[in-house]
Point group: C2
Chain length 239, copies 2
Amino acid sequence: MTLLNIPTATISRLVTYLRILEKLESAVVNRTSSKHLSDLAQVSAFQVRKDLAYFGRFGTRGMGYTVGVLKRELRRILGLTRPWNVVILGMGRLGQAIANYPGASEYEFSFVGLFDVDPHKIGNGVRHLTIEPMDSLEGFVKRLKAQGEGVEMGFLAVPPDKAQEAAQILVEAGVKGVLNFAPVVLQPRTLEGGGREGELAEEWKGVVVENVDFLAGMKRLAFYILNPNLKELEMEVSV
Amino acid sequence: MTLLNIPTATISRLVTYLRILEKLESAVVNRTSSKHLSDLAQVSAFQVRKDLAYFGRFGTRGMGYTVGVLKRELRRILGLTRPWNVVILGMGRLGQAIANYPGASEYEFSFVGLFDVDPHKIGNGVRHLTIEPMDSLEGFVKRLKAQGEGVEMGFLAVPPDKAQEAAQILVEAGVKGVLNFAPVVLQPRTLEGGGREGELAEEWKGVVVENVDFLAGMKRLAFYILNPNLKELEMEVSV
């Protein structure tokens, strides 16, 4: 199946639907519907059906969905049926909070390496891991690769003014997925001069970045506190 | 001006454009354009123009924008020209990381209160504040109100299974903006029985919630690592 243009908001909502389905399953609820899911996800039932329709047909018209089946389908769509090895760059308060967050190792996500530049942090233990120097990241990724493992995700929890540099270290080490916690837009390196000017540098090809930025969240919240009707309006218009 | 249905993604991007404009201003760049902004924000120039057009006309056709003017306009649109008092509920590692994050007190955001239920944390100092018991929140908000101040935003940094309960405490104290860090969809309380069944409970009316959820970020990232073309495609299609 070819996936056509899918809004990023749809992917965010699929994550939400999955979370709700897991909660329903653990409450031994076996059946659900677009209406039921939409109430719990705080979106419209039309939106639920539209989001799912990008990925095929689920459930039976008028009969709703089997919770366990839809949950498995969403896990498959999102790529949560395979293991993901994760490293964290920056082990200040935020990196520590992430590494220790309950549920962060759910599914097949595993923190396999923690890195920092601060000599006072390097060598310290966090859960079952030891903080390593940032410049050992590339060797670390290579060693795992030699063992038939990969590092697929890197979390940037460094200070904002170090995020671009840390991102470069991460992608040069061959990590293709970046979760960026810093309030900066990461800029991929492009080539200079010659016929390839402006082209993405090799290490940035295929790299995907997701941002989790609470400073931006504060600002969005300010807007919606001043314009509360816009949140409701959006739901109504999408029905 | 009446604001019609504005996508939440547009509000997120306005925050990004503002960040870029601030960076340009501090680099003493005075002029910019949709193309320039779009390169730095990693979106299409069409998208930049479309996002801004929701809020009026900025800049001059073919001449681009004055950095300082557009920055001030975006700050005004987002509501960042007035002070915002913020409380944090949950002072574990994540709450600590937020309270201490560099730049968290930029603009007019001020952390005015920190709350927890853990007797070992209550009384501890964090920056210029002292952690207070969660059940003193309502009195705290009232005292500020009596002084002509308000508490407009509450951050939920409690464990996931406590988020709904903490949200209820927050809105009952009269806080209308919730920044939720927990990987749960907050459910507003609705009325039961009588003619008003299903209606929002009084304390939830006008409440807006923004989610900043890194576990969801990990899952979105998994999807995009497996489907890297979807991110690029989205940009191309939107042109």
